[in-house]
């Protein structure tokens, strides 16, 4: 019944290609986080604005991002928009999908962080002659980032794992895509995916430990 012979050497020979894939995975995750943070900030400001349409757009984005499968969001960013004649490469679609998801989750976190900062902080800034935007930028945002730092770290880990969904839109240069292609070639299924799992694990561990180090450097108050 159990007659599978492990052939680690065959799988390990493919390690360099998998590591190249890991670099692409990190690229997508990092980009999606950076752009996601910017969009989350914009969504947060939209929610704070007095404009009903802006508020509604932000709320819709956040609701969809948090209450539909990430797979669906990535699929939409590729095949969904293709229905309207918009064609993105698998890389771009994956990036858009994950960024959309990140921005929604982060905006929600930012909102919670904002609630934790008393109104009197911004008022103190304005009393010193700072504009609302300056108060936001120099007084509120730094405190928001500290409060949201742990959730942001979690989202970064999540972004790395979400890259695996790229295979559904034809992505084959990231860690998961590469592994799947190699599997089709060699049929060393267990070995290849076990190695991929270890690489994913190492990446996410480095992120959490790195974040902890950065936090201890950055937030000394």
């Amino acid at each position: 019944m159990f007659d599978y012979t492990f052939q680690w050497n065959q799988a390990l020979a493919r390690l360099p290609r998998m590591l190249d894939g890991a670099v692409v995975t990190l690229e997508v995750a990092v980009l999606s986080m950076l752009i996601g943070i910017v969009f989350a900030m914009i969504l947060t400001l939209m929610r704070l604005s007095d404009s009903r349409p802006l508020k509604a757009i932000a709320a819709t984005w956040i609701e969809i991002a948090r209450n539909t499968p990430a797979l669906l969001q990535i699929y939409m960013a590729h095949f969904g928009v293709a229905s309207f004649g918009i064609h993105f490469s698998p890389f771009t679609s994956l990036l858009i999908g994950i960024t959309f998801n990140n921005a929604g989750y982060l905006a929600e976190n930012f909102r919670g962080a904002l609630k934790a900062i008393p109104d009197t902080q911004a008022r103190a800034g304005r009393s010193l002659g700072m504009s609302s935007l300056q108060s936001f930028r120099y007084i509120i945002v730094p405190q928001m980032l500290r409060i949201s730092f742990l959730p942001m770290t979690n989202q970064m880990v999540w972004a790395v794992l979400m890259t695996s969904l790229g295979v559904t839109v034809g992505m084959n240069t990231d860690l998961y895509g590469v592994t799947q292609d190699l599997n089709a070639l060699t049929f060393r299924t267990f070995e290849l995916f076990a190695i991929a799992a270890v690489i994913f694990y190492i990446i996410t561990k480095i992120i959490t430990l790195g974040a902890r180090l950065i936090a201890s450097r950055l937030f000394r108050y």
Binding site: G125, R126, M130, F219, Y221
Partner: protein
């Protein structure tokens, strides 16, 4: 000069200021006393334009605070305000708290801003706390830092809103000493306070607020010694 002319201010249905008239000249110290909810804080936040008013006028050096054409950010550089809750910026060290506005609002260079901040911080007795984070300071120290932060903008006027009310009793003295020092240096100040001793010793005039009206104003000796308004009498009796 700060000129407050027949100012009315409401929050929704609630009229909080019911026609306030008050002129504060350069170098004058006016303290405002009165029961809680009488509109004292609201008046201060109207003076620096943090709150809009419904009617009347407030002029600071002849500039109408609530006129549409007025640049309130520029105006606020002239008017320092310190609140009961000192609002230290927790993510910045003491000196960073103080240089933030001079750098971002006045566009000052780092070295110049730091020199000014250091001078102001020494002035309020925090010369040895420059690189400390506010969370390591006592309430009195944080409040003095907030005063230095306001002074670093070289304001012509200072507004103080019950700056000792949130402090432990043993810390009140050090902050009052700082205010006294500023008064002696000739700073124009409006101080809302519950410290009757301070009001008596430091102010040129004391104003008594009652339910949105300035019921009485006069020299400390007159207001404390011979209050004219029955409400002033009962208020003073209650705080003694």
């Amino acid at each position: 000069m700060i000129e407050i002319q027949n100012v009315h201010k409401s929050f929704g249905q609630l009229e909080v200021l019911k026609g306030i008239d008050l002129t504060v000249s350069k170098g004058e110290v006016v303290t405002v006393i009165g029961g809680s909810g009488s509109g004292k804080s609201t008046l201060l936040t109207c003076i620096n334009g943090l709150e809009p008013i419904n009617s009347g006028k407030i002029l600071v050096d002849g500039v109408e605070v609530h006129a549409k054409s007025t640049n309130v950010n520029a105006l606020r550089q002239k008017i320092g305000i310190v609140f009961q809750q000192w609002n230290a910026f927790p993510h910045l060290t003491v000196i960073e708290n103080v240089i933030l506005a001079p750098r971002k609002v006045l566009g000052m260079g780092k070295a110049e801003a730091e020199a000014i901040a250091e001078k102001q911080l020494r002035h309020v007795g925090l010369g040895d706390k420059l690189t400390t984070y506010p969370s390591r300071l006592s309430g009195g120290q944080q409040q003095r830092m907030a005063i230095a932060r306001a002074l670093a903008m070289s304001p012509d006027y200072m507004l103080f809103d019950e700056v000792t009310s949130a402090l432990d009793p043993q810390l009140v003295g050090e902050v009052l000493e700082t205010l006294k020092m500023l008064a002696e240096e000739g700073m124009t100040m409006i101080c809302v306070t519950h410290e009757m001793g301070f009001a008596r010793d430091v102010s040129n005039r004391v104003a008594y607020f009652h339910k949105g009206i300035m019921a009485e104003i006069g020299a400390p000796a007159q207001l404390f010694g011979d209050p004219q308004h029955p409400e002033t009498r009962s208020f003073l009796a209650s705080v003694r």
